[in-house]
Each structure stands twice: as structure tokens, then as C-alpha cells.
């Protein structure tokens, strides 16, 4: 077996190709799985990513050299072929396939299997070695159907509307916010207010053709704008800030896979928690590993150790890979 990818102090290095995948320190050539901050870091010489990811990377990385490749297209870098395959995590998120002399490694990046109206669906890629994320790799993490959870969000919004309260829903600005705006379009066509960090990303999604509820930045409203009955999407960092005061009486909620656990929900002090995640749950992690047909599995971030041990007990060669990726942060 050849080792096509191994972590060093700068990132996940492909020696045969002379590039790093999602490097955590500046490198000459970076291959990027998706636009979240723990995977797409600033300061590298050149970036290569799946084409739909490029506008997001441009927003995050500014004046960097960023090149896009359509999903599924093979590019030769040094001695290896590289291609991107949809990971279903956020718009443009990709698994990175690396091939040399018939040996195939796939780095999953972050991924989910549940349907998402705002991004490309995950495609299993056959490989010899599969490097999988393990953010939610415990059997307690199993997502209810997205439509059911989105329905609960909608009922919560409606109940707040009847009670004359604003609904402030905390979620990641990139990915989760747009997914929620897409899911809620089943029930309504109302305009949703958004935090300043969310709106530019909505634009990127709309240009990519995602169907979402209309949005309006909170910053563009006039002083005294009533928010009773409205839905506001904001990143968790905006919670408890003076920014919140303008909404008057409000119910708060957090949309995150961590909300599956009651203790976490209560500790965070939000009125409601909706367990909706852009990461694979336990059954989907196992299903995906099976579908890749991989002989060897390397796990990274989250419950990497648990997943690797479980796989070994199931007779699959598995180990962990130390990376600073964070997956879904609790805040």
C-alpha cells in the first residue's frame, strides 16, 4: 500500500503531488475541501477547489489565487490525479479523491447524507483508503428527517408570531443558514431578517441557483423597526450582544447537531434547540464507509477515536489521524 496522504505540521500532505489538503498553515499549493474557516485558511500561495466553492473561497480568502475544477473532473498534479466529488456538507463542499498508479485515497472533508435543497448531494466514491470526519461518531447521534425538524422550526416561529415575539434562530452563517432558508420555503414565502455575516453568503447561494426565502439584513432596517413575529437568523456569536436588544421580546433557538443532547441544549440556555446538522450521523458514517468499499479507514476530528475503535471491532482496518479540524463547534 502506498501512503498518498499524511499529516505533518502544516496540513495533510500529498508528497507525490506536492500539495496539502486543507492546510492549517500557509503552504505553496493548497487543495481545499470547502469554505468553512477550519478548512480554508488564509495565506497559501495557490488554492484549488471544486468550482462551486470558488465564490465562497473568494469571500473568505480575498485576493488569493483560487482555481476551480468542475465536480468529477480529473486534474494531474505532479504524480497524482486529483478530483472533487460532492460531499453534501455546504455549497461546493467536496471530497478530495487522490489517485496514483491505481491506488485511490479519498479525503471526505465534512459531509452529510441528508438531503439539502441548497447544495449538491453526497456521492460515495470507491477507494482503498477513506479519510472520514467523525464529528458525531457516537450512536446517540442520529438525525430525525430534516423535514420533521424544519417543521418544528416552523411551528416555533408560528407560535412566537402568535405570542407577538420575535424568533431569533442561531446557526452558522455559511451553510446552515442557507439550508434553513431553503427548508422553510416549504411553508411560507415570508422575508427573513439576517445578521450582516449571513447576507453576503445568501447572495453566493442565490447566484448558484439555490431556492431560499427572501432575506433582509437587520442592519438595513430603520430604527424602531418592529420585529414581533419575525424570524431572524444570526451566528451564535451574536447571542447575548447588544445587537440582540433591538428585537424586543424574543424566543431564541440554536440549530446544531449538538442540540440532540438535552444537557447541551439546557447548558446553552437557548429557549429551543433544533438538532439539524450538516454532518453525517452515526448510521450514515457507517453506511458511507461501507459504500466506499475502503480497505482502510482513517478518522479525524470529533469522536475519531471511538469510530476507529468500533470499525476495528467490526474487522475494518482503521486508525485516527490528528488534525486541528473542528467539525461542528458547539458555538
Amino acid at each position: 500500500m502506498q501512503v498518498l496522504l499524511h499529516p505533518d505540521d502544516r496540513g495533510l500532505f500529498c508528497e507525490a503531488g506536492g500539495f496539502y489538503i486543507d492546510p492549517w498553515k500557509p503552504v505553496e499549493r493548497a487543495v481545499i475541501s470547502h469554505g468553512h474557516g477550519d478548512h480554508a485558511r488564509w495565506g497559501s500561495g495557490a488554492y484549488l477547489a471544486a468550482a462551486p466553492s470558488v465564490p465562497i473561497l473568494q469571500r473568505r480568502l480575498g485576493e488569493a489565487r483560487i482555481e476551480g475544477v468542475p465536480f468529477g473532473e480529473r486534474v494531474r498534479i505532479g504524480e497524482v490525479f486529483v478530483s472533487f466529488h460532492p460531499a453534501g456538507h455546504i455549497l461546493g463542499s467536496a471530497q478530495v479523491r487522490v489517485e496514483r498508479d491505481g491506488e485511490v485515497w479519498v479525503f471526505s472533508g465534512d459531509y452529510k447524507r441528508a438531503a439539502d435543497p441548497t447544495c449538491e448531494s453526497f456521492e460515495p466514491v470507491a477507494c482503498h483508503t477513506f479519510i472520514t470526519e467523525a464529528t458525531f461518531a457516537l450512536p446517540i447521534y442520529r438525525w430525525d428527517p430534516t423535514a420533521a425538524v424544519a417543521g418544528e422550526v416552523w411551528e416555533w416561529w408560528e407560535a412566537n408570531r402568535e405570542a407577538g415575539r420575535a424568533s431569533v434562530l442561531f446557526c452558522y452563517a455559511l451553510g446552515k443558514a442557507q439550508r434553513l432558508l431553503g427548508e422553510l420555503a416549504r411553508w411560507t414565502d415570508r422575508t427573513v431578517f439576517v445578521h450582516g455575516s449571513v447576507e453576503p453568503l445568501n447572495e453566493v447561494y442565490r447566484q448558484a441557483g439555490a431556492a431560499m426565502l427572501p432575506t433582509r439584513p437587520v442592519a438595513e432596517t430603520v430604527r424602531g423597526q418592529p420585529f414581533a413575529g419575525e424570524l431572524i437568523l444570526a451566528p451564535p456569536s451574536a447571542g447575548g450582544s447588544t445587537w440582540m436588544r433591538r428585537f424586543g421580546p424574543a424566543s431564541t433557538a440554536f440549530a446544531s447537531g449538538w442540540m440532540r443532547v438535552r444537557g447541551t441544549r439546557r447548558r446553552r440556555g437557548f429557549d429551543r434547540g433544533f438538532a439539524i446538522s450538516d454532518h453525517a450521523d452515526w448510521p450514515d458514517l457507517l453506511r458511507t464507509i461501507r459504500e466506499t468499499g475502503a480497505e482502510r479507514v482513517l478518522t479525524t476530528h470529533g469522536y475519531a477515536g471511538s469510530l476507529a475503535r468500533y470499525l476495528r471491532e467490526q474487522g475494518i482496518a482503521a486508525g485516527t489521524l490528528a488534525t486541528p479540524f473542528e467539525g461542528e463547534m458547539e458555538d
Binding site: 457516537l138 450512536p139 446517540i140 442520529r142 440532540r260 443532547v261 438535552r262 444537557g263 439546557r266 429557549d271
Partner: protein
């Protein structure tokens, strides 16, 4: 069950007391009385002995879900609640068709109660069968019932408020009906909801206790000291002594009947007090005019059998505070000054077992403050200030009773072990063990859970994970580098503890980021302080 589970979920979801009362009231209006009776039983913190040990339930769940035990342990560490962990790993296994709904009372009476005492091999198919037919949240509630751990985040006061609202009766009347022993039956629930007025009395039934609030304002703002009764704040078992129907009953504030634990008090009270008398007071372990440490009193409660040895080691007194019923009449509305005079009269000949908590005389507040400084040498917690003109209220109503405690003892100690907490602290390292120096080694002296802010807990959690030296199951030994100021309500020499001292109510006062571990206190220093004090 569904209705009760939904109520539980609604209560669990909100932190607003008004919303909780509204959810409770809606439930009490709509639920059948036989179900509502059980709900009141659980909501007021009454428990049934567990039907099954949690570990058996966990073992069955692991096998049902095909989860190895180490993975279950890791899951449990992430959830912090066994009943919930089980419901989460079983999720998604049930049949498409849920089992037909069964009301809470029938769950209790036809399923859970008959489960008791049967061998595990008969219990297992019952329980795993129920799991299959229930959705996740109801499985969680069922597991809580099975393990006897059902606790809902509502205070008794909120339940009383909701019941009073539904019954259209005054809250104190409802509170009184909820005291003492009762069975969760439809008839009981209906009697709870009866309009105000007198009902048939259970002669052992205590009154709701009035609780003091911590003094949160300058003592001078209370007005003239003459309007106040000052007493020592005794640290024992708050209780009511009831002499009715030719018998004596002692109730603890936790509403447990503890008469049998204190035979000398009951024997003295029976001939001394006229029938129809209720006293409020504190049971203390007492010798030569001084209280003994609380741990001594605990022997009276903890030991299975009250041997002569235990009786002699932990001699008890009832320190009377107040008079709630006299000659069968509820006198709680009379001013304290009057109740207190009557109390003194009744207990005049109560020695050596029934005493009146002495009043501390002080003409001015600064004199009172000096008296409070004596608290530690008297082995009391500080002063109680009670308004002489006040009635005996129920619950923790602020304004008439204040506790004015002395500052706690503090010790600088080093954090040496950490483990994850439970409930809302699941997955965070929040249970800490602290040590002080003794002959060049760190000796554990206390465990503490509370006192840090959420931000500090998060920061410390990160630090602990990066500086773990060894893991023993969920417990980590960490580099001895972080110093904390611990505060204790009490600290005493104890031959039974390895460190030689026993602490009471340890909590974290401050994270001493300005101190190095070498600057932490020594055991010898603490001992000297205790012996000297």
C-alpha cells in the same frame, strides 16, 4: 403517558416560570384525575424506589442496539444522563406503528408497580417490548420512571401556583393539602382541587415551612433593631414537631417523617405539649450547651438501627423557633412576637431536650454585627433576623426573615482530578478534586462542583483536556498547576478522613490565576487554624 411526556418536555424547554405554570395548569385541567395525581406526585419531588438498577437497563439497551459497552460509556459521558443515553441509542429502532397510548396511571399501576420484585429475565422482555412501542422522548420518560430518577425542573411553589389557579383556591391552602403523606389517587387529586375551606385533617400533616432569604442589603436598611428578633442560625435539620391526636410527629423540611430517629424528643414532647400544638424548629446534635458538627447528627439519620451507642454519640435537641398551631388553632397569622411568647411558655419545662432558640439582645446594628462575629466560635452559621410583627409565611417570601451568615472559611487548593459533570454539564469537565500540601505531597481535601462562571468552566475544560496526565475511566488526573480559592460552610477535624479534616459545602470562590501551586495552603496550616479556632 404521551400527555405527561409532553408536559415534561414543555417544562424542560422553558426557563420562564409563567410558561411553566401555564403548561402545568393546562395539564391539570385536561388530564384525567388519576393521571394528574401521579403527575403531582412526581412533580412535587416524591419518588418511588427504583424498579430496576440503571446498569441492568443499560445492559439490555446495549444488546438491543448492538452497541459495545465501551461505546455506551463514551456515549453516556457525552450525554450525562443514563435514561437519555438509552433513549438516544435506541432511537430509530421502533416499529412504524407506535403502541396504543396508555395513560400514566395505568403505566404506573398495571406495568411498573407489578414489575417490582420479579426476576430480571422476566422484567427484560417487558421493558424491551415497551421500548419498541414508544417514541424517543417517551422512552426517555419511561427510563426515568424505571430508574426512579424522574426530576422535573419545577419547584413545588410553581406546582402549587398552577393547582391553585385551576382550583381557584388560595395557594397556601393547596400547599397545605400537599404536605405530609398521601397516595396518588384520583380522589386525592380531586381533593386538591376542592375550593378553599376546611377539609378533613390528616393529624400528622405539617404546615409548609417559611424559608429565610440571604440578607442582600445593608443591615441598617432593615430599620430599627427593636423591630427584629435575632437568633443564631443553627445548622441542623429544620423540622416541625406536631403534637396532635394523642401522638407526636416530627417532619423534616424534606417532608420526611423522622419521628423514629429521635425517640427522646417525641417522649419529652408527648406529655409536655397540649394536643393541637405545632412547633417549627431545628433538630441539633447537642452536648454541654453547644451544637456538635452536622456530621454527628447525620449518624442519627444514616444508620440503619438506632443503637444505644448512636443515641449516646449523637444526643439530640429540638431548638424551637416558632409556634404554628396552638390548641388546635392555626396561629400563623398572629405576629411573631406573640407566637414567640407563647412558644417560650410552652417550652419552659422542655429541658433538656426541647429548647427555645435564644434571642440575641442588641440595641444597635453594630452591636448585632459584633455578635455575628462570634458565630464561628459558637459553631453556628451566623444570625437569623425575623420581623417581630410578621406572620408565619410559606415558602421563600422575601422581606420578613433574613439569614445573615458569616463569611465562609477559605483555603487555596490545587486542582488534581477532573471528570465530566451531568445534566447540563455533560461532556464538560466540571467535577473537580482539590488538594493541599502535606509533607511535600498533594493530599485531596474536597470535591467541588459549583462556583465558576460558564466562561471559566469552558476555559478550564480546555486547559484540563490539554494537560491531562492520566485517564482512569472518566476521571483524569491533571497537571497540578491551577490554584483555586475554596470556600466552606464548615470545616472540622475528622479521624475518618484520610486528610484528617472534613469539609461541608465546599465551593469554588475564585480561580486564583495569580497563584502558583507552591503557594497553595498546607494541611498542617489548616489543622492549626482549626485547633486554634
Amino acid at each position: 403517558m404521551k400527555r405527561f411526556a409532553t408536559l415534561y418536555e414543555a417544562l424542560d424547554r422553558t426557563t420562564s416560570t409563567n410558561e411553566k405554570v401555564a403548561a402545568l395548569a393546562a395539564y391539570f385541567v385536561s388530564a384525567p384525575p388519576e393521571d394528574a395525581a401521579w403527575a403531582v406526585w412526581f412533580l412535587t419531588g416524591r419518588r418511588l424506589k427504583r424498579f430496576l438498577p440503571g446498569r441492568l437497563l443499560a445492559a439490555w439497551a446495549m444488546e438491543e442496539a448492538g452497541v459495545p459497552d465501551w461505546l455506551f460509556e463514551e456515549s453516556y459521558a457525552g450525554v450525562g444522563d443514563l435514561a437519555e443515553t438509552i433513549s438516544l441509542i435506541l432511537d430509530g429502532r421502533g416499529p412504524a406503528e407506535p403502541a396504543p397510548e396508555l395513560p400514566l396511571s395505568r403505566w404506573m399501576e398495571e406495568r411498573l408497580l407489578p414489575l417490582r420484585g420479579r426476576p430480571p429475565e422476566e422484567q427484560r422482555p417487558e421493558v424491551t417490548g415497551w421500548w419498541l412501542g414508544l417514541p424517543r422522548w417517551e422512552t426517555f420518560v419511561l427510563n426515568k420512571l424505571l430508574t426512579g430518577e424522574l426530576r422535573v425542573g419545577v419547584s413545588q411553589t410553581l406546582v402549587e401556583r398552577a393547582l391553585a389557579q385551576v382550583a381557584n383556591a388560595p395557594q397556601p391552602a393547596v400547599a397545605h393539602r400537599l404536605m405530609g403523606t398521601w397516595e396518588p389517587t384520583a380522589a386525592f387529586f380531586q381533593s386538591l382541587l376542592a375550593p378553599g375551606g376546611e377539609e378533613e385533617e390528616d393529624t400528622s400533616r405539617p404546615y409548609p415551612f417559611y424559608l429565610a432569604s440571604p440578607l442582600d442589603q445593608p443591615v441598617e436598611s432593615l430599620g430599627s433593631p427593636e423591630e427584629w428578633l435575632a437568633e443564631w442560625k443553627w445548622d441542623g435539620i429544620r423540622s416541625q414537631l406536631i403534637r396532635r391526636g394523642g401522638a407526636v410527629h416530627l417532619w423534616s423540611r424534606g417532608e420526611e417523617l423522622i419521628t423514629g430517629r429521635f425517640p427522646e424528643l417525641a417522649r419529652t414532647a408527648l406529655p409536655l405539649l397540649p394536643d393541637g400544638t405545632v412547633l417549627d424548629g431545628e433538630i441539633l446534635a447537642w452536648r454541654e450547651g453547644r451544637p456538635l458538627p452536622f456530621s454527628v447528627l447525620q449518624r442519627r439519620i444514616g444508620r440503619k438501627r438506632l443503637t444505644d451507642k448512636v443515641l449516646a454519640e449523637a444526643p439530640a435537641v429540638f431548638m424551637g423557633y416558632d409556634l404554628l398551631e396552638l390548641e388546635g388553632r392555626d396561629v400563623r397569622e398572629r405576629p411573631l412576637a406573640e407566637r414567640r411568647r407563647a412558644l417560650e411558655g410552652l417550652l419552659e419545662r422542655g429541658r433538656p431536650f426541647l429548647l427555645t432558640s435564644p434571642a440575641i439582645e442588641a440595641a444597635a446594628w453594630d452591636e448585632m454585627a459584633r455578635a455575628r462575629e462570634e458565630a464561628r466560635e459558637r459553631d453556628v452559621e451566623g444570625l437569623m433576623l425575623k420581623r417581630l410583627a410578621s406572620p408565619y409565611r410559606t415558602g421563600r417570601k422575601k422581606g420578613d426573615w433574613w439569614k445573615w451568615k458569616i463569611e465562609p472559611f477559605t483555603v487555596d487548593a490545587v486542582l488534581i482530578y477532573a471528570q465530566p459533570g451531568h445534566g447540563r454539564r455533560a461532556n464538560l469537565l466540571t467535577d473537580y478534586t482539590f488538594a493541599v500540601w502535606s509533607e511535600g505531597e498533594l493530599v485531596p481535601i474536597a470535591k467541588a462542583y459549583s462556583g465558576l462562571s460558564d466562561e471559566e468552566i469552558l476555559a478550564l475544560d480546555g486547559w484540563l483536556r490539554r494537560h491531562t496526565m492520566q485517564k482512569f475511566g472518566p476521571v483524569r488526573s491533571v497537571e497540578p498547576a491551577q490554584v483555586f480559592e475554596l470556600a466552606f460552610e464548615g470545616i472540622a477535624l475528622s479521624p475518618r478522613h484520610k486528610s484528617g479534616i472534613a469539609v461541608r459545602f465546599p465551593r469554588i470562590a475564585r480561580w486564583r490565576t495569580d497563584k502558583t501551586p507552591e503557594q497553595a495552603d498546607t494541611l498542617e496550616g489548616i489543622r492549626r487554624l482549626l485547633e486554634g479556632g
